[in-house]
Symmetry: C2
Subunit: 117 residues, 2 copies
């Protein structure tokens, strides 16, 4: 059993193209012994967003604080504390902070070679 | 993309032996199209606990509110808002609410035939 606090984990800027004001903490990873999936925490500053993109792995998201929206094509869905989002493999998507406070959410993904998005 | 609120999902009592004052919401499951893992939310009432048990799958846990402890053998670890726990496959474990408020946490598991614990 491994127990830590989210803020024991270093936070780093997400530097992929299309990301603006996004920071990530990888809370649980293969380095901890996780065999199947990875838990990450994202913090998006007001006005910031993740890249609008697609990839072969799913996202399972839980919003911890702040407000924003998830977009898929022409559809947008409001996000608030307690929102739950499933992005399926190969669905285009992004997340945007539309509020005045940081938008903070957990986003778990299966273990993949390039799970940066 | 599927978007909902946690409280759109029905909550039910966990009735396995050894569980006391524990309720579960299955937030994201294969029924939503999830291909690899399942996101559940547990609420443990003050004085309640999950069964002390073991199984072949891991837990990835994030504590949303309340306080309590995670136990593995003779070791106990305090839990509070923002605690992160990885329980590896076949590690004995349970979670206990030692506070005065409900202990609420997310607990994701891989898709398994009997993922009730």
């Amino acid at each position: 059993m491994r127990v830590k606090r989210f803020d024991d984990v270093p936070e780093r800027e997400v530097e992929v193209e299309g990301a603006r004001g996004v920071r990530i903490r990888v809370l649980i990873s293969p380095g901890d012994g996780a065999p199947n999936f990875v838990m990450r925490m994202f913090t998006i500053q007001p006005g910031g967003c993740t890249p609008y993109h697609t990839h072969s792995w799913e996202h399972e998201v839980f919003v911890l604080s702040g407000s924003g929206e998830a977009r898929q094509g022409e559809k947008t869905y409001p996000l608030e504390k307690g929102s739950v989002v499933l992005v399926l493999p190969w669905e285009e998507h992004n997340f945007r902070n539309t509020g005045d406070e940081p938008l903070v959410f957990l986003c778990s993904i299966p273990i993949v070679e390039d799970g940066s998005g």
